[in-house]
């Protein structure tokens, strides 16, 4: 019983970590999509990429390809995290049922 409770606490902690990572990633994806649409609409000649404390001049095509790559990686990571979230939620639910406590 005590071991199950400790496991439940750990799973809930993991679930919350995954949830906050998902929120951050969704916001990053929205930001990248918005940047992409601005670049495509305005088609500026000069684009700067922030790398650490400096802004490096880059071309439009290079900036768009950087956004595409970032989007691909972020979307893949988001899908993995969403699957992990579902699995964790299911495990937590089963454990709560076994322990006879109300679902959190």
């Amino acid at each position: 019983m005590a071991a199950d409770l400790a496991k439940l606490q750990q799973l809930i902690h993991e679930y919350n970590v995954v949830r906050s990572e998902i929120v951050a990633l969704r916001s990053r994806i929205a930001e990248l999509r918005s940047a992409k649409s601005v670049l495509e609409e305005k088609r500026p000649r000069t684009v700067f990429r922030i790398i650490g404390p400096v802004m490096v001049e880059t071309g439009l095509e290079e900036a768009l390809s950087f956004i595409e790559d970032e989007l691909e990686v972020s979307e893949l990571r988001l899908r993995r995290l969403e699957e992990q979230e579902k699995k964790l939620a299911k495990t937590i639910e089963e454990l709560e049922r076994r322990l006879g406590i109300a679902p959190s």
Binding site: E31, L32, V38, L39, K42, F66
Partner: protein, 148 residues
């Protein structure tokens, strides 16, 4: 007697539920107020940057400005190209655009944020309405519990 005890238990349970709901609503209201504050600050920042753009457009050419380098220290710099602005577009990218385009983009952001602020204010009003609905019930049930 049995009925009275049952009613007391029911009242106690109702009070507990309402108190939980009230706590959750108060937390929601705090969160909404914090979000509204952030939106307000961002709108003020954007409005201030429009003022700077207007000034630079009119009087910027060749002017000496003080550039902050941190810890309250500044270096002198001359405005070389007042007709363009480097603007952050998100995703750690910035673009060079004309002052007029920059102004348009900032105004669009302000419009979006104002509509978001309105939405948040409506939500806050709704949460406050629910709080005002529940609060007297909680007070009444708590008074009844104290009388016992």
């Amino acid at each position: 007697m049995v009925r009275t005890v049952a009613a007391e238990i029911q009242n106690h349970e109702k009070l507990r539920k309402l108190q939980d709901e009230l706590r959750s609503l108060i937390a929601q209201a705090d969160q909404l107020r914090a979000q509204i504050d952030i939106v307000n600050t961002t709108i003020q920042d954007l409005a201030a940057s429009i003022e700077v753009l207007e000034y630079i457009k009119k009087y910027g050419e060749g002017k000496t400005v003080l550039v902050p380098i941190g810890a309250g220290n500044f270096i002198r710099a001359k405005i070389e190209k007042p007709e363009t602005v480097i603007m952050g577009v998100g995703g750690r990218l910035s673009v060079e655009v004309s002052i007029d385009d920059a102004r348009k983009m900032i105004e669009e952001r302000i419009t979006t944020l104002e509509s978001l602020r309105l939405d948040l204010l409506r939500k806050l009003e709704e949460v406050n309405r629910k709080i005002n609905e529940i609060l007297p019930q909680v007070e009444e049930l708590a008074r009844q519990e104290q009388k016992k």
